[in-house]
Symmetry: C2
Subunit: 238 residues, 2 copies
DNA sequence: CGATTAATTGATACTTCTCAAATCCTGTGG
DNA sequence: CCACAGGATTTGAGAAGTATCAATTAATCG
């Protein structure tokens, strides 16, 4: 909470704190100007939907500050959380590039500020900066690796193992606050929807992990007490 | 079987039947020459490993003719089949691009012929043809969508549903032979390793589907008798 | 400070896994 | 081409692991 906090994105991408870690990291000044001029600001309140599964997005969001979940609806209407996005992440480009309807809905987990870049400008950037599409390609390839891990985990591990694993993943992705709690609040249902289990099962197993001292919980706030126990439980391979 | 069958790849990529459907589809003649000159032929017998999980590939394979499985080893040493590759597919580029060790082993499901393109030439192509990396990007984005479907399926569907689904996927991917059997032979264990279940469970459920008339089996050959029943069973959403 | 929504706990039913044992089949060498 | 060895498939029985339904209690949001 100080003047260093950029709650809303700056007018020019050149000044954006997230740029070094975003897909825009290697854009030349000229292209950055183009993007800056054509981008729009967008704010999403907690719980608000940014993109709907099955839709055809007309542009791309660059997350300035916030956290979002990507999820698909299964046949029973149950959410399956597939991944997350946070500061610096580009959202919606896959659908545009593969020319397919969006594969997952995106909803804000907390109040989120983003820049909206229309499809046409996005393609302009691609044409002007080959390095940009290469960066996107790199990111996608990395994501594909992560997806492979998730697939193996879902297919082979027990719910208990996956739960232990997810806490480690969440910590690696979102970090902890000053008290050591995960810097992300999720409902038990959302946790269940990541791990692929019933809410009640997730709750029971979270209680187990708590009583075993691996984690500590305070409502929706979760602290990892014993990472190595979690690692053992999760049978983390890599 | 005739002289139209290109068992081994031609010397020049320009002449390759697979090019229109491969990531090389939009290469200009000049770059194609470069690739042709630098590529090598490689043959893999059924069961032979093309790439090992965790390794650092020094080049990329373009599959000329054959079928391969990608799989990760879970903590119990169990294979999880993540996807397949066949004619025209590029194998190994993800690891090279994301600069990570290979995420999945790749093994030939039948005798396979491929072209090997060294890393350096691969990057040369990327530099010379922006359209190429864009094509790769498109392919990756599509794959990411598929991975998302697989994740949701594993997380939310029963083994029975996933099994029904996988037969439909296999037919869509590999097609059928003249007798209507899937043009791909897998062991029951491999089927189990796709669906994420124990071999015995897969066997039992395959028997069920057979006795319900949805499929027909003859050893490892599988024919889909009633796709719509399978679709119903699988609760296919999209 | 209600009114909902979320979290928890219990009881029970199902699904799936594991271990074991008995064929069956496939690929190979003669 | 045939016989054989060894892996693959099949079936059974029992044990775990999870899901489901129902009923409370707790937490959260206007």
């Amino acid at each position: 909470m100080g003047k260093t906090d950029q709650l809303e994105p700056p007018h020019h991408c050149q000044l954006c704190n997230n740029r070094p870690s975003s897909a825009f990291r290697d854009l030349n000044a000229e292209t950055l100007d183009t993007v800056s001029q054509l981008k729009t600001c967008a704010a999403f309140k907690k719980g608000q939907v940014m993109l709907h599964e099955g839709a055809r997005p007309q542009g791309v969001y660059c997350i300035h500050k916030g956290k979002l979940k990507f999820y698909r609806l299964g046949s029973e209407g149950k959410e399956q959380i597939v991944r997350f996005a946070t500061n610096g992440d580009l959202v919606g480009y896959r659908s545009i590039l593969s020319d397919e309807p969006i594969g997952a809905s995106v909803t804000a987990l907390e109040d989120t500020f983003a820049c909206y870049i229309p499809k046409s400008s996005f393609f302009e950037v691609i044409d002007q900066n080959p390095k940009f599409s290469l960066n996107l390609l790199q990111d996608s390839c990395h994501e594909l690796g992560e997806a492979g891990k998730m697939i193996t985990s879902l297919a082979q591990k027990t719910v208990r193992q996956r739960l232990a694993e997810i806490f480690l993943v969440l910590r690696a992705t979102f970090g902890e606050d000053h008290e050591g709690y995960l810097d992300l609040k999720l409902t038990r249902e959302e946790i269940a929807n990541m791990v692929g289990t019933a809410t009640e099962s997730a709750i029971r197993l979270i209680s187990e992990l708590r009583s075993e001292g691996a984690i500590h919980t305070a409502g929706r706030r979760i602290k990892i007490e014993d990472p190595s126990t979690l690692r053992d439980l999760a049978a983390v391979v890599d």
